[in-house]
């Protein structure tokens, strides 16, 4: 059977099950007696095994099978949950994930047998229960029985449809005292001349009898129009074993399954299969696989009752996922690009309609343009929403990671997460995992003190690490922090001087914040000893550059003795934003609306000076002024105006006033990257094409401040 079309579903569902397992095992560690959790684990493990089997991933199936055995013992109360077992189970999950990664890459599970883990699993069962291992081996032996067939060898001959003529023929032969054998032959995947192999099989078995029905048809087999397997019914006087051996003896045959079948059984089976085919037609496509798999159960040795329980659960939960459509992210990217083009086209229509000389002073024309604007804006929003996914998929693996770290570092710690349902663009979510993971490791390793020190300081023994995600304007903020000792600013300063990063004089004049920011410089590690968790100095600078590559930024706040918090700020959208267009000199720039808090007209005489820096005093706040014409080196205006147009921008708690020459209005703009050639200290985050075809640059407010 060609299972490649189910591969994607398999990967997605395996991921889901792995996540469920990981969550549940974490829970189990806290409440070892919770029967619901154990049952849930059992179900997930069982589904995993079933799916791996269906897809023909034998090694994965083997591992999950043995893992399931352990849960079986836990469920029947023969083994008590302990931390060694939890560790082992997590090792299993990692191994399964390894298989899954291989499957993702090459559609093969790879060759790692993970015998060590399997042995440990079995030892575990053996240790807990002397008689159990035999039971276990009996179970394992089952797939090797030739008649029952193994994981890859499903009895497909029970599934294909026969026409009435063939049935009549079979019936007549049986009445003549012949026996009917159904067989399915699996040819090795690497086999080059499948048709030739099939022919050899037919030739071999026809020494004993006559083949009545082929599936695929004999013509199709001859033309090699089949995957790696074919089925047929043969009538013969000889015993089944002879026919079976004949088929088996052909080389490059992976497996043969078959059995003797009475016509009545067959007829009943066919009817049942047809009925089921109708029944499963409304289910998602992966389900028929498992449903059909159960079909031969009546003939094959009866399965454990848990098997059907696991299956039932699958069918019950399916209709929910049925309401969603899986879409390739590339298709969404293409859609997004087209929407971008549409918005540029719309912008140019808007600019034509607003020019006096355009000659379009018609009322309806203007109304239509406005209508078009509304539609494109909501179209853009819809596309954006489609691309948004909750960060859950990334942060879900963190509790497990913190648990492992806690054991490795021998520190007690707990991770508190909020806002896992915060949504971000898919591209951002895919790439935010590593930086966040790094920050969490940092907190666990450097941030938190060891338990004894914590108790000495009068802090709770168990350290807390938190991860908070929430939306703020056009940004999503993710805070990662701990209640540890905080960053030792003096130590950082000394280290920086020692490493020659800054001179002593420079250090004198640097603020605490500037010192802390030194941590983000390449190869600046504060760890006293290098562990495999952190401290190689390839840390924070990578975090920073990864986050900046996504258009975001990262900040640190630290209170000595109280803890450290890293604030990661990410843009909600990547491609299209609402922006305020401004003129500086005779150049046009865009400022993202999301970062603007208000716009003020400030008389020049109101400008004050603090530490030789221009500031304004606005509603009780002192806001530094940034003269964009100086920052951007534009041609200065000849006469100093009596009042300045100031755009007040916000980043977290801090504000700044950007002095611009002219306001041009709000516009929806499409962000285009500047490419890799131009490097300009990141003041410009991109460019956009205006309605008249002109190019305007987008100011990155976060870097300006």
């Amino acid at each position: 059977m060609d299972v490649s079309q189910y591969l994607e579903i398999f990967i997605d569902e395996t991921n889901e099950h792995l996540q469920t397992l990981s969550d549940c095992i974490m829970e189990l560690e806290k409440e070892p007696e919770n029967m619901d959790v154990i049952n849930e684990i059992f179900r997930a493990a069982h589904s995993l095994k079933g799916m791996a089997g269906t897809m023909g991933f034998k090694r994965m199936q083997h591992l999950t099978h043995d893992m399931e055995n352990v849960f079986q013992e836990v469920r029947s109360d023969k083994i008590k949950v302990n931390s060694a077992m939890i560790d082992l189970l997590f090792k299993c999950l990692d191994a399964i994930e390894g298989y899954l990664d291989n499957v993702k890459e090459s559609s093969e599970e790879g060759t790692e047998d993970n015998e060590l883990i399997i042995k440990e699993l079995n030892d575990f069962i053996a240790a807990a229960n002397g008689e159990k291992p035999q039971d276990d081996s009996a179970k394992k032996a089952e797939p090797q029985m030739p008649v029952a067939g193994n994981a890859a060898g499903r009895k497909k001959y029970l599934e294909f449809e026969m026409d009435d003529a063939d049935r009549a023929k079979l019936k007549a032969e049986e009445e003549n005292g012949q026996r009917i054998y159904g067989m399915t032959v699996y040819i090795q995947k690497e086999c080059l001349l499948k048709a030739a192999r099939a022919f050899l099989v037919f030739k071999a078995v026809e020494e004993y009898g006559q083949i009545i029905v082929y599936n695929p048809t004999s013509q199709e087999i001859e033309d090699e129009h089949f995957e790696c397997d074919f089925s047929f019914f043969i009538v013969s006087e000889e015993p089944f074993e002879k026919v079976y051996e004949a088929a088996r003896s052909v080389s490059e045959i992976e497996d043969v399954v078959g059995e003797e079948i009475k016509y009545e059984v067959l007829a009943a089976k066919q009817e049942k299969a047809e009925a089921e085919a109708i029944a499963v037609a409304i289910m998602p496509e992966n389900n028929p696989v498992s449903a059909e798999k159960e079909t031969p159960a009546a003939v094959a040795p009866p399965k454990q009752p848990s098997a059907s329980a696991g299956n039932k659960k699958q069918t019950v939960s399916k209709p929910v996922t049925n309401r969603t459509v899986r879409v390739d992210i590339e298709k969404l990217d293409a859609l997004m690009n087209q929407v971008s083009e549409l918005i540029i086209a719309k912008n140019s229509l808007v600019s034509i309609s607003s020019t006096e000389s355009g000659g379009f002073q018609n009322q309806t024309f203007h109304e239509q343009i406005e209508g078009l604007e509304r539609i494109t804006t909501s179209l853009h929003e819809s596309v954006m929403k489609v691309r948004m996914v909750p960060i859950e998929s990334v942060v879900n693996k963190f509790p497990r990671m913190i648990r492992d770290l806690a054991r490795k570092l021998d520190k007690k710690m707990e991770l508190y997460m909020t806002g896992e349902d915060t949504e971000l663009d898919r591209t951002v979510v895919d790439q935010i995992g590593d930086p966040l993971q790094h920050l969490l490791r940092n907190s666990a390793d450097h941030g938190l003190e060891d338990n004894a020190t914590r108790l000495e300081k009068g802090k709770p023994e168990v350290g807390s690490i938190f991860l908070k995600a929430f939306q703020e304007g056009n940004n999503v903020i993710i805070e990662v922090g701990d209640d540890g000792n905080g960053i030792d600013v003096d130590a950082v300063r000394e280290k920086a001087i020692e490493r020659g990063v800054i001179t002593e004089e420079q250090a004198e004049s640097m603020s605490q914040k500037e010192i802390i920011n030194l941590l983000f410089l390449p190869s600046f590690s504060m760890a006293k000893k290098i562990t495999d968790i952190s401290g190689r100095g390839v840390g924070l600078d990578v975090v920073k550059s990864n986050i900046e590559a996504l258009g975001g930024d990262v900040e640190v706040k630290t209170d000595k003795g109280e803890g450290t918090t890293f604030t990661v700020r990410l843009p909600l959208t990547l491609a299209i934003i609402q922006a305020l267009m401004v003129e500086i000199g005779d150049e046009k720039y865009a400022i993202a609306i999301g970062s603007i808090s208000n716009i003020e007209d400030i008389p020049v005489k109101d400008i004050k000076y603090v530490e030789a820096q221009e500031v304004i005093h606005l509603r009780g706040k002192v806001i530094p002024l940034i003269r964009l014409s100086q920052v951007l080196d534009t041609e200065p205006k000849e006469d100093e105006p009596t009042s300045l147009t100031v755009v007040i921008v916000q980043k977290g708690d801090s504000q700044a006033g950007l002095v611009v020459d002219e306001l041009m209005g709000q516009q929806e703009i499409v962000i285009k990257p500047l490419g890799k050639f131009i490097n300009n200290n990141k003041i410009i985050s991109g460019a956009t094409i205006l309605g008249d075809g002109e190019v305007a640059l987008i100011l990155d407010v976060n870097t300006l401040m």
Binding site: E587, T634, P673, I684, A687, I689, V695
Partner: protein
């Protein structure tokens, strides 16, 4: 004669676009060229490298424009009707435009018409001889590398 026929096959002929920068003729390997466009408004990018004039938009794409004169420490560009922007397509780094004073013609140069450069300067990888004219062949990678 048979020998002669073989030679023809072995001859590697490359096409170059001949452009003027200042008083010198330069040849650009045609494989790198995506497009040649007329001079248009270039949007200055503040704080960019000196030899980058800015960016233009071409068919919805943003393309950085480099002044080859500034890059080679020649007098600054003066734009006129003959000025063109040559859009180079580079595998990894995307597109890049360079400003030239004039685009003259396309020439075929075979290996034996090209003299490998010895110390002609880092941006030139050879001199092509074509109908009594000398053409300096630009090493595109060197121009790009430095720019990066």
């Amino acid at each position: 004669m048979a020998n002669n026929g073989l030679e023809v096959i072995e001859k590697v002929v490359k096409q170059y676009i001949v452009v003027m920068v200042g008083s010198e003729q330069y040849g650009i390997d045609i494989r790198y060229i995506d497009n040649i466009v007329r001079m248009q408004k270039i949007t200055r990018v503040p704080k960019a490298q000196y030899y980058f004039k800015g960016i233009i938009s071409l068919r919805g794409e943003i393309i950085p424009i480099m002044s080859i004169r500034r890059k080679m420490d020649l007098n600054d560009d003066t734009f006129n009707n003959a000025t063109r922007i040559i859009i180079l397509k580079l595998e990894e780094k995307g597109s890049l435009g360079i400003i030239v004073d004039e685009v003259k013609e396309v020439v075929n140069l075979s290996d034996d018409e090209i003299e490998k450069a010895s110390n002609k300067g880092k941006f030139i990888n050879g001199i092509g001889k074509h109908e009594n004219d000398l053409i300096s062949l630009l090493e595109i990678n060197a121009i790009v590398e430095e720019a990066y």
